[in-house]
Subunit: 329 residues, 2 copies
């Protein structure tokens, strides 16, 4: 596998580092629109919130855009994220002790400093996946499933997630290609193009039963309505979704994976930076969407700017930048 260089890192005029990667853009009927590189098998997490809506749990607990966005999030552990995850659990009569994702300091540096200044330590609510896990737990409680061990492969909660992911992507989620995510749930190695197809279906509902089509649309709409809750202050996902409200869905994952959807074009996008770098995956997804939405010149210009983030010295001088290569334009 030798995927092309898609992003270069400049210091002054010198290319200091280079990131290779692969991109798949699909329509919901399975038509490939744009592919770069070998869309190799790659682990990714997404689509996992469908059971929360389809089971009726989201309605039972009165969850709106904010809660559904957080259920799809890799959030920064800022106070608004932490408080909302707590409130979701409270609706199901639970608290943070039910979470099995583990605790870590907020990925937001400012939130970490504020927490330490207050003399506090993080708990599982600060885990970037706490909203997703709150969604799993609410689904269990609503469906009358014992929630202990809900993160484990074979638990009813993860079986629901696996069923949804298989159906949406059309790819087998095979126990032989199953790993464990940082938040302890199973994660499956699935071809990148299956995720592109899956997100085209999520955005359009093509090929879904009405209940699933509605749930999928509700989840993507929630994320586009509440980008901050999907990520956090200063995050690329927020900037991309805010660049064109209700027109762009993006979600970054671990190891340089991005999934995205452009409902107006009926397209799903999945990409992976070979080396797992988030900084390069952010450039790739911005450049990819800029190309696909090129007809809207003002929006494309804004996205292309986002695809060239500066590198600054510690005193804030611009000393370099990232840029997409010709392969992406």
């Amino acid at each position: 596998m030798t995927n092309p260089v898609l992003v270069e890192v400049l210091r002054g005029a010198v290319v200091e580092s280079a990131h290779r990667g692969a991109i798949a853009v699909f329509e919901a009927d399975g038509k490939p629109v744009w592919e770069i590189g070998d869309t190799a098998r790659s682990a990714v997490k997404a689509i996992q919130a469908l059971p929360l809506v389809e089971s009726g749990a989201a309605n039972a607990y009165g969850f709106g855009n904010r809660e559904l966005a957080l259920a799809c999030a890799s959030h920064s552990g800022e106070p608004a994220h932490v408080e909302l995850a707590w409130a979701m659990l409270a609706k199901a009569g639970l608290d943070e002790t039910a979470l099995e994702c583990g605790a870590h300091w907020p990925s937001s540096h400012a939130a970490t400093v504020a927490l330490a200044r207050a003399g506090k330590a993080p708990n599982a609510l600060h885990n970037n996946c706490s909203g997703k896990h709150a969604g799993f737990l609410c689904t269990c409680v609503h469906a009358g499933i014992a929630h202990r061990g809900y993160v484990k492969s074979g638990h009813a909660s993860q079986e629901m997630v696996r069923d949804a992911m298989q159906a949406v992507t059309g790819a087998a989620h095979d126990f032989h290609h199953c790993g464990t995510d940082g938040c302890s749930i199973p994660t499956y190695a699935v071809p990148l193009r299956s995720f592109a197809l899956g997100f085209a279906r999520m955005a359009t509902g093509v090929g879904f039963e009405p209940v699933r089509a509605k749930a999928a649309k509700r989840l993507l709409s929630a994320c586009m309505a509440e980008p901050f809750l999907v990520a956090g202050t200063g995050r690329a996902d927020v900037a991309l979704m805010e660049a064109a409200p209700d027109r762009i869905f993006v979600k970054g994952g671990a190891e340089g994976v991005y999934c995205a959807a452009l409902p107006e074009l009926g397209l799903g996008i999945a990409l992976k930076c070979d080396d797992g770098a988030g900084r390069a995956a952010e450039v790739m997804v911005a450049a990819c969407i800029a190309r696909l939405l090129h007809a809207d010149k003002a929006l494309a210009a804004k996205l292309i700017e986002q695809a060239h983030p500066p590198i600054e010295s510690r005193i804030g001088a611009k000393v370099g930048a990232l840029r997409p290569t010709a392969a992406l334009s």
Copy 2:
């Protein structure tokens, strides 16, 4: 440039990400010992502490191994690093207001939390380069050079550094291939193999005047004697140097660069992870040194273990690992 994959990132049994790179290992007389990939032009910082010793400043201020190690460091901003950088400046009658490297929160997460808990904010002494900058400033004061603007290209301080780097590496340090480092000093794009050769010379003194040979040996010895001061708690550089005291010198730099020396073999090593990832560069340098020191079986086994760092979930379960590829063994 398509360098080979040198490091793979595993989740369970699945290769989730891959890092390409290049390695150069040289003897001091210019004989290449081992080269992988295209040792492309690449910015790196090193050898910059020679003027501190050669100018007589280090002796004048009574600097021993600890101060010289810190002058070569990218430290984690822990209290011991900060206090020593302050003490070095105090010897020259200066304080942190003379530093022009900029302030940032300690790269040590624990040090960041402790600083915030104490209600404090970081200053330039917490910058990972503060020891190096303290060295520049001490050299200026000792030599009677006005120190304001010491970070700028063309200032006598940076001219001394450039002269030393050109002489040691044998490569032109060209203003047309000059960028600006995160700590605001000029940084030059130089072939990787020139750095491998330069560190072979630093370790052996071959080709140097006696004053420089002695200064180079003193600096590398200081780093090997005080590895913690060169990096910090839990850092790969410390683990590698502590694996074989006084036998291994390593120094990681920005954007996935490593320089190293093995005095007993008279070898200098320079490597670069194409994509700039530190996690992969750490594996590359451990695997490279394990191969070069294979005759010491116990040491090689320890280094090979360090070349396979685990990936853990947030609850501390081992869910994956990094590993060097066959190209490195």
